[in-house]
């Protein structure tokens, strides 16, 4: 019996010929990523034991994405502490405020996370790695153990394969497909807890931005990983950016899956996810026309350059509706720079959107740009549990970047197809 791609990557990192679901392994990561929320507590934990060093100053990346503009005195103090810790430990890859951006986006865009990479991260959204054919495993506060020892116990997860069939309609994006996937899995009572969801089938149609978006919603349903086998196009892009040589990894033809499912994507409509969880998606017709107050494009789920392009296609030459505030949060500083050279920045500014520093943006607990009681928000946030970014009685709809942009322009939930916007790569 063969192995899935995730099993192969875990086996390689664990210096084993093969691993099987349920095995406990101690993988040696190619890199470790820690965000601004866990650096100080990890340091305190290791100080408490007397550990005064990290396992490898060159393989550790400290990123700043959860509170990049320091929205509280405590955050300012934390920033100071982080910079001190970076010096004490000699961390070589430190991305301070205003540098790098979202830790689940810029490492992919800058060729640090490449196809086949295995890494540990404190945050669950490291599943984004699957969008480029890599594996990132979330270990929460046990990232401190990884920082000290270079590994932590890891249970090899089972994999569920989902074959996507057909071509999505124009105006329907990877994010919509992701919403629909989890809606279907929830309806069928399929639990993703600590499973890898591997996608197969007609994947060629999804660019890197959409692949990242596809990784998001299953993660909110507790998947430990989403794996999308990289296409020729993705591999060529990755090769152009890669900081070091890489070897893409694919599942064996006789790999074992816990479940083998299919989904016809050709019938999917643009989705609007109702407040309370990513699996609560409905076709946009059910909510079209609902007034909105708050709109946000960004987050680990939809902060890739491709997402910004999709939104800009609608916003170009148009204005955000009166009474609506639109926040645009590029996933990375690379995106911000490119927006300036490509003219996208001008499109957003002239539309009346507020372009914010790269990072998690509003999705990080609404530290910036929260919603008020009774308001209706439509956004590309990773999640929309009650109170995720502001008042507990606010509506938090989720949708694709195109749907959010279209809604911001009209002031009501709007089908992006009303603006004749097609998928990236296709004629508008």
């Amino acid at each position: 019996m063969g192995m899935t791609a995730t099993e192969k990557i875990l086996a390689r990192a664990s210096r084993r010929d093969r691993v099987r679901p349920g095995d406990i392994v101690f993988p040696k990561p190619d890199l470790v990523i820690v965000h601004d929320g866990l650096v100080v507590s990890s340091k305190a934990e290791l100080d408490g034991v007397g550990i005064d060093r990290v396992f490898d100053t060159d393989r550790i990346y400290f990123v700043t994405d959860h509170d990049v503009v320091y929205t509280s005195p405590r955050a300012v103090e934390r920033g100071t502490q982080i910079r001190k810790i970076v010096k004490e430990w000699g961390i070589k890859h430190f991305f301070d405020v205003g540098q790098g951006g979202h830790g689940h986006i810029f490492p992919i865009q800058s060729g640090v996370v490449t196809p086949g990479t295995f890494y540990f991260d404190n945050d669950r959204h490291c599943t984004n790695a699957g969008g480029i054919g890599a594996v990132g495993f979330r270990v929460g506060t046990e990232i401190a153990t990884v920082l000290a020892t270079g590994t932590v116990w890891t249970k090899v997860p089972p994999t569920i394969r989902l074959t996507l069939k057909g071509k999505v309609k124009p105006g329907v994006f990877g994010r919509d497909v992701g919403f629909r996937i989890v809606q279907d899995l929830a309806r069928r009572g399929i639990d993703l807890d600590y499973r890898v969801l591997e996608l197969a089938g007609d994947l060629e149609q999804f660019d890197l931005g959409e692949r990242i978006a596809l990784c998001s919603s299953p993660t909110e349903m507790r998947a430990i990983g989403v794996f999308i086998p990289p296409s020729e196009r993705i591999l060529a892009e990755a090769k152009a950016r890669a900081k070091r040589p890489f070897e893409p990894v694919f599942s064996d033809a006789d790999a074992e899956y816990e479940l083998d499912l299919t989904l016809d994507v050709s019938e999917i409509e643009p989705q609007v996810v109702l407040t309370g969880g990513v699996e609560r998606g409905v076709d946009i017709a059910a909510k079209a026309g609902t007034s909105i107050n708050h709109a946000f494009i960004g987050s680990c789920a939809s902060g890739m350059y491709e997402d910004l392009v999709a939104a800009a296609k609608i916003l170009r030459g148009r204005r955000v509706a009166p009474g609506v505030r639109l926040f645009v949060v590029p996933g990375s500083e690379l995106n911000t720079k490119r927006m300036q050279t490509d003219g996208l920045m001008q499109v957003f500014v002239e539309a009346g959107a507020m372009v914010m520093p790269a990072g998690c943006g509003i999705c990080s607990s609404g530290k910036m740009g929260p919603v008020h009681s009774g308001e209706v928000s439509i956004s590309t946030a990773a999640d929309n549990v009650v109170g995720r970014f502001g008042a507990k009685d606010a509506e938090l709809f989720l949708a694709s970047p195109a749907t959010v942009a279209a809604s911001a322009v009209t002031g009501v939930v709007t089908d992006p197809r009303d603006f004749q916007v097609f998928r990236s790569g296709e004629a508008a």
Binding site: F26, V49, V139, G140, E142, A148, T149, K155, D193, Y194
Partner: protein
């Protein structure tokens, strides 16, 4: 490691299905406030579901639950269980909850299918967490579940992550550092 007590014997504290960690296991404000000291947590263990629970249990007792116990990745409730000397057996628990429980050194079996049918609250039960051997002495039932995996027994026997790190550092601390400190 041989001195570690893998077998617990005591009363069964039976709970149902789908009990989330924030709230029912331990009050939300203690999680949000990042309380990690057992003395702050123990008095509030299961306070929403069974007021006075900590006074009704003794070391060796085992909490037995149904499916999906302890939703959420936090460890506060398990710190309280560990401080009280309790064990935990669930029909299922989300992986991150299991990981959090092991991280504080709790003796826990997360996959005990059908165990709710084998016990009633107050039964005298025992479990060897290193072999999975379970017995309900009140009802004369014996069954074997999957034990704590061998690769994780060191972590548990050392009292969880902090004990594990302490031992690791003892073994891996560079010599010159040790000499400099001496």
């Amino acid at each position: 490691m041989s001195a570690f007590q893998w077998k617990l014997a005591g009363r069964c504290h039976k709970f149902g299905h789908d009990i989330p960690h924030p709230g029912p296991v331990i009050p939300k404000h203690l999680i949000a406030g990042r309380y990690m000291d057992p003395k702050d947590l123990v008095p509030h263990l299961f306070s929403e579901l069974r007021p006075g629970f900590p006074d009704k249990c003794k070391p060796g007792d085992i909490i037995v639950t149904g499916r999906n116990f302890g939703m959420g990745p936090k460890m506060n409730g398990y710190i309280a269980m560990q401080a009280l000397g309790l064990g935990l057996m669930t029909e299922t628990m989300p992986f991150l909850a299991y990981r959090a429980a092991l991280g504080v050194g709790l003796r826990v079996l997360d996959t005990c299918p059908g165990i709710l049918n084998l016990v009633e609250d107050g039964d005298e039960i025992e479990c060897d967490f290193s072999t999975g051997a379970f017995a309900n002495r009140t009802r004369k039932i014996q069954k074997t579940f999957d034990p704590i995996p061998e690769a994780l027994r060191e972590l548990v026997s050392l009292g969880g992550t902090s004990g594990f790190l302490r031992q690791w550092w003892e073994a891996n601390r560079p010599r010159e550092t040790a000499a400099a400190r001496a």
